[in-house]
């Protein structure tokens, strides 16, 4: 089932839908402050958008769009950024993950926490996306070869 799906309808529809699924995922990640969602759900949506071409399109195109190395890379980077966000307040003597303690001129504490949440959500989104893509790639590794 990996690779070029025999039906033209499936291939065309998934090509059309894929970018919109990924865009919806990015929206969910970025819009967590005001609506439902956040890093977890958004990351899963982006992962689904990246896996869809692997199930339907020819292998060389699918793995060119989202290379196999993208999964581990995004997962590791996301986790690293989240940890760094957590560690940054320690430099000014505050508690772990206490974004408000960072004293950037012209920014009130609430704004700092707002931005901290946004950065954390993006990091979570990348980590979840990468992890899910990695799990799928490892599971289907045997089928491809």
């Amino acid at each position: 089932m990996i690779g070029n799906y025999p039906s033209v309808v499936v291939r065309v529809i998934s090509t059309l839908l894929g970018p919109f699924i990924i865009m919806f995922g990015l929206y969910i990640v970025a819009h967590g402050h005001y609506g439902p969602g956040g890093g977890f759900a958004g990351g899963v949506f982006i992962a689904v958008g990246a896996i869809l071409p692997r199930l339907t399109l020819p292998e060389d195109i699918a793995y060119h769009l989202f290379p196999r190395s993208l999964g581990p890379l995004a997962a590791g980077l996301g986790m690293l950024v989240f940890l760094l966000i957590g560690l940054a307040p320690l430099l000014v003597g505050a508690a772990f993950l206490d974004y408000a303690a960072l004293d950037i001129p012209g920014m009130e504490a609430a704004r700092m926490r707002y931005l901290g949440i946004l950065l954390a959500e993006i990091a979570i989104g990348a980590a979840v996306f990468g992890s899910m893509l990695t799990i799928f790639d490892v599971l289907t590794d045997e089928v491809r070869r």
Binding site: P36, A41, V44, R111, R113, I117
Partner: protein, 204 residues
């Protein structure tokens, strides 16, 4: 929450769960499980828990199904024969007892949206009243997950990353073990042993 609609959704949930368990075709079971998750998401949305609903819809109805399909692709599409009859006599009463206990326990839970419920007291009042001013974030759930309880979220993210890493380690090691015995020294005898077999099958 509309009671008749909820009852209908619960009915659909029970039907899809029973069908998913009884079907022999695992691909159909996966589709039924995704349907089950989708209806659970509708149920959550009806209870105004939209954050839970969207995660259930994305994970349960979307990604879990894809991962199951990936697993089916590498293994087999048919499920093994059912549980042997003798064991079913033990398992069925056990399930009935557990369901009865859970129903009995649920009768002691506070009503949904009860302001005097323990979950509505204490620290959650603080979060609900202060999060907008503290973090500029209208969605309390996001403020809770990524700010007040960000340590928990860090742990959750770590759990997902660990799942990905361990699946890589387990599956890649298994593959390497499969390949190495069939390496250059033993490859030629096994290839000879397999070699003659296909011919009689292809012939007729």
């Amino acid at each position: 929450m509309i009671i008749p609609l909820d009852l209908l959704i619960f009915l659909v949930l029970i039907i899809t769960a029973v069908l998913a368990l009884s079907t022999k075709d695992l691909l159909a079971a996966v589709a039924l499980l995704a349907t089950y998750s989708l209806f659970t998401a509708i149920l959550f949305a009806g209870m105004a828990a939209v954050d839970v609903a969207i995660v259930e819809a994305a994970l349960g109805a979307g990604l879990t199904g894809i991962l199951f399909i990936a697993a089916i692709m590498t293994t087999t599409r048919r499920s093994n024969p059912r549980l042997e009859v003798r064991r079913r006599y033990v398992v069925t009463p056990l399930i009935v007892v557990v369901i009865g206990l859970l129903l009995y326990a649920s009768s002691g839970l506070p009503d949904r949206g009860d302001p005097d419920a323990p979950a509505q007291q204490g620290i959650s009042v603080e979060y609900l009243t202060r999060s907008k001013d503290d973090t500029n974030t209208p969605n309390v759930v996001t403020a809770l997950l990524a700010d007040y309880r960000s340590m928990d979220t860090l742990g959750e993210t770590l759990v997902i990353l660990t799942a990905a890493m361990s699946s890589v380690l387990v599956l890649l090691r298994r593959r390497r073990e499969d390949e190495e015995p069939g390496g250059p020294p033993t490859a030629s005898p096994s290839a000879e042993a397999v070699g003659p077999d296909p011919d009689p099958e292809v012939g007729p």
